[in-house]
């Protein structure tokens, strides 16, 4: 069942000459883990903004085509209504926390929705636990590291319990370990809570192993769309300047030398290790 469905979606920001999204069509199935990638300025962030209605309600501009999110046409529903179904986590962790304590921040969305206090407390606790930050509940956001702040931002979205979780480069302000932890939390949400995840990411080395579906964008258009191993292994992806996993790149180099026997394209270091071991034994 398609949970997100875009049909020749075209969007131009106010006062912009070129469209940020140009005839974009794709489908995302329920429960999928989608990685959306592509060079900077290719329209990934604009697409994220479409998913929860920031485009067109907050940014205005001109929207053509159609996008259905959870069967809602985003044009007909205000952002706060879409926010119940689509959680959006932004790039800069600092600028999405408003309150003076972590728990209050996680509760912010629930307060806006008018959830009764008793239920709110339960949902906040649960979200903190899922994000692995229950020990930070009473801390102030500015005392936390970037990674911890980003996990607070994710917890605050989890608390609202959306069907779709969209993350717009959540790790670009974080160190590799912080990024790894974020991916782990997201992976868990996708796996055990069956949340549909749409992750915009450049660090494919760490993220690729979670993906069921990869979409590559370029200049406002969809360049490639398909299964991770196929998309990541394609020459076009690499030529666009997408940082494909090192394991995949090594596979390509070894494949040119005809040194490999496996047809399974590796996306993680573990898989690559297995492949190399096999090659050495042969």
């Amino acid at each position: 069942m398609a949970i997100v469905k875009a049909q020749s979606l075209t969007y131009t920001y106010p006062n912009a000459e070129k469209p940020a999204l140009d005839d974009v069509s794709f489908e995302i199935q329920k429960g999928e883990f989608v990685i959306l990638t592509g060079p900077s300025g290719c329209g990934k962030t604009s697409l994220c903004r479409c998913l929860n209605g920031l485009i067109p309600h907050f940014y205005q501009g001109e929207l053509k085509g159609k996008i259905l999110v959870n069967k809602y046409n985003i044009v007909d529903h205000p952002i706060h209504e879409l926010a119940k179904h689509v959680g959006l986590v932004f790039q800069n962790p600092e600028n999405q926390l408003f309150a003076l304590s972590v728990e209050k921040d996680v509760a912010f969305g629930l307060e806006n929705l008018g959830i009764p206090r008793k239920e709110m407390i339960e949902r906040v606790d649960c979200a903190l636990k899922t994000a692995g930050i229950e020990d930070l509940a009473e801390r102030a956001p500015h005392e936390l590291s970037g990674g911890q702040q980003q996990r607070v931002a994710i917890a605050s979205i989890i608390a609202m319990n959306p069907e779709i979780l969209v993350l717009d480069e959540p790790t670009s302000f974080l160190d590799p370990l912080g990024a790894k932890r974020i991916f782990k939390v997201i992976g868990k949400l996708n796996e055990s809570m069956d949340m549909t995840v749409i992750l915009v990411e450049h660090r494919l080395d760490l993220a690729a192993k979670y993906a069921d579906h990869v979409i590559v964008m370029d200049k406002g258009k969809i360049a490639l769309d398909g299964k991770p191993r196929k998309v990541l292994n394609s020459d076009e992806t690499r030529m666009l300047g997408v940082g494909i996993p090192k394991a995949t790149r090594l596979y390509q180099l070894l494949d040119e030398e005809k040194a490999l026997h496996s047809r399974q394209v590796p996306v993680t270091a573990d898989e690559m290790g297995k492949l190399v071991r096999g090659a050495l034994r042969a």
Binding site: I79, H80, A83, N95, A99, N112
Partner: protein
Amino acid sequence: MSVFDGLKFRRVSSPIHMLDPRIKFLYVCSIFVVAIVFFELLPLLVLFLFQIPFVILARVQREWVRSLRGAAFLASIIFGTNILFRFMYAGYSLTANDIEYASAMTMRFIALVESFSIFFLTTSPDHLGLALEKSHIPYEFCFAFTTAVRFVPVLAEEAQTIMDAQKARGLELEKGNFLKRIRNYIPVLIPLIISAIRRSLELAEAMEARAWGAIEKRTNLYSLKMKRNDYLLVLVSIFVLIIGIFVRFYVSIPTLSNLLGF
């Protein structure tokens, strides 16, 4: 900025921290009124000493001392100007009474700083925002208030970064006369303001993403409930107010110099 350092909230659990911020504010107001009605050193000194148990109960002695130290500069200006005016007014002579008057004015200021610092040191800005909300102030204003408080350290850090960056490009902040020095800060202020505007846009987006404005009557994670200690503080505040006003009108207050026999 050291005055404000002494007002920075730190999370401690103490009976004073647990009090309802509205009641604490009532207490500050009553201290304020009492401090304003007296011109004599003795009652103001009593007012100062009266508040010390609160500081100890709240376990914020260190911050409290720091806030007083921060206030020392202003206090000495108040003392100095009072002495100066008394000195000129009395025809270039000074009595013990004049010094006592100046001390009283200074003590009034210190007592006020003391009560404010107890309030701010023991009230989390979150609770303060909540108290504002419960006082029927529109939520938008309360939200603006808590968000402003939340971003103070962030902006301070950013200002430091910009200053460092501009210094690395050869900006000399401490050069020139007073006016020149103020002008030196323009290359720091402009990027700071621009980045603050950008930040506010991102914040607005994040608020939208969390269903800001979904319903008219939002709920709140925290609630304020009056407890036994709150009622106790109400009594104390009213008591202080009544005693203060009573003493003001019906008791003649001896000056300290008379008592000590100058």
